[in-house]
Subunit: 335 residues, 2 copies
């Protein structure tokens, strides 16, 4: 096969055909993809499905703790899981820049296939496009997921009630800082690793432990700050959190200080925020801590009455301050 | 709102939030999107669903007869329709280049919303990302569609049998030539128009007229030649077509001659190829011709026995030649 992606790989002719048949199909190998039509057709049980889509434009394509391929699977699986859905299938669309090394593409596709197998979710249909050199940036992947929502699950950002517990599944800022350190050669490369991971099994455990869970969100772009603000606005409540309850790895803390960033604004890819009635919080925490992806789970704050929907934080220094959305862009192309 | 897209529109913070709330949501306006979670949750009837995904990277963003927004809807609706599915919902992911004019984005989104309404299919979830100036090309859109497949429909590229009729729904080459003429300023701009259109209603009519239809394909990238070769290989048969039976607009024919292209290799966005048992062909043609998008439908050839899976054409000059896939790329970024 060619050493680099050329425009002819996107033409729909013989080269596209070879690329699909020799690289994508063997890696993603499953019966639905092998139907070989322009669409995958599958039976679904009656009930509710969840659908989510995300374009991944992360730079660099490979980073400590992950790569664009596994990130594209886990990110989409997580968006399904945040609705309480178990992943059912994925679609993947690739926009490749002319000149992309075939070896890089092969590695990313292999990683993607492995991530999909880890989640037990087949990649059932896809698309490949090529843009001219200088009109893309190596590789963008758009992943769309379908999930099945159990009958009794009703998670919604608008469900938060004053008095509810705010639970965080683990340390924050790992993904964003790993990317940034790698990209800017900050010298933290050895200690910072992305937390990219699939959360659907943790969520399944949580739904059993706390049947009246209000909602789940994964604090990706915009970090914990954006997630809490979104939930506060969706539910017309305030959120009050304790800085000292929030797990932050030492290397992330140091990198944040160096760069003048706050960990609450830095992206995560393997963490979630859960809101639940206070009487269910301890049981939920215990269940989460028994799962490898929730071992550092912490009760970080409380939903409060506040028609202005502010998010505030008691700092480790004893102060109190508002936690707003970032107004500009500090960390482009983090996912 | 800002006049141009900036990196902060992709940061997941306040600017992203405003863009989504003020531009995308009002345009796509529907109850599932308004759930405002990271995934849309909907009830589905028991049965089979079709899923398809496509990235659209067409250049220019607006062209005679369409734009990237309506193309992204119709292209995905058509990939569902080719499986016999009626469109159920869409997801849309936008990769925007820093500097994209907000007015252009607004027009494309409005066109996309109108196209979705025309098809009766809601855009239920989405994503927006921004890449730096020079790392994209204005706008790429990835659309993923779900459709419902009627119980008795069994369309498959592997179903073609020797003796089957090859039916084409109308003229070929219109989309590819409209794009190319616009891009290269060929001077055909006034007469060439893309055929971009949604085919699901035509397909519904066809399924009623020919219940034993073997398969459907829309000859997009790679044109009629690629589609017939794909079907031939999937079914291990040959295809024999008559050049003079294939409708080609005069302006497309002239542009092809000027550029040294063949109409069978040029992309279409509102046409389909149907394979059906010969005894159903006349009834199918009559039904297609009664629909505005099938008024020029033609019986262009026959499936033949051929273990080498060749596609051949009797030319208007009385010759016979093989119709192969394009080996290189003559028409980049046509969709």
């Amino acid at each position: 096969m060619d050493e680099r992606i050329t425009l002819s790989h996107g033409g729909g002719g013989r080269a596209t055909n070879r690329l699909v048949n020799e690289l994508f199909w063997p890696a993603f190998d499953n019966a639905l993809l092998a139907q070989g039509n322009d669409q995958a057709i599958m039976g679904v049980p009656q009930g509710r499905i969840a659908m989510t889509t995300d374009s991944f434009v992360v730079k660099p394509l490979v980073f400590p703790g992950g790569d664009i391929g596994s990130l594209a699977v886990y990110g989409t699986v997580n968006d399904l899981a945040m609705g309480g859905a178990q992943p059912f299938c994925l679609a993947a669309a690739f926009i490749m820049e002319e000149g992309l090394a075939m070896a890089t593409l092969r590695d990313v596709v292999a990683s993607m296939a492995q991530a999909a197998r880890r989640c037990g979710v087949p990649i059932v249909t896809g698309d490949t496009k090529v843009v001219e050199h200088g009109k893309g940036d190596g590789l963008f992947i758009t992943t769309t997921g379908l999930g099945l929502v159990p009958q009794d699950v009703q998670l919604d950002a608008g469900n938060c009630r004053p008095g509810d517990a705010i639970i965080l599944s683990g340390s924050i800022g790992d993904h964003g800082m790993a990317i940034l350190a790698q990209r800017e050669h900050l010298g933290f490369e050895t200690t910072l690793r992305s937390d990219s991971a699939p959360l659907h099994e943790l969520v399944a455990v949580m739904l059993r432990a706390a049947p009246t869970l209000r909602c789940l969100r994964d604090p990706t772009r915009g970090g914990l700050a954006a997630t809490l603000n979104e939930l506060a606005h969706a539910s017309c409540v305030g959120m009050h959190i304790q800085e000292q309850a929030i797990p932050v790895h030492e290397a992330v803390r140091s990198a944040c200080e160096l760069l003048g960033l706050e960990a609450v604004h830095v992206a995560n890819e393997g963490k979630l925020v859960a809101i639940c009635p206070p009487q269910e919080a301890e049981g939920l925490l215990a269940a989460m801590r028994a799962h490898p992806l929730g071992s550092q789970a912490a009760w970080i704050g409380t939903v409060v009455e506040d028609s202005a929907c502010w998010v505030s934080m008691a700092t480790t220094l004893g102060g109190e301050r508002l936690i707003d959305w970032l107004s500009g862009e500090q960390l482009p192309r983090i996912c």
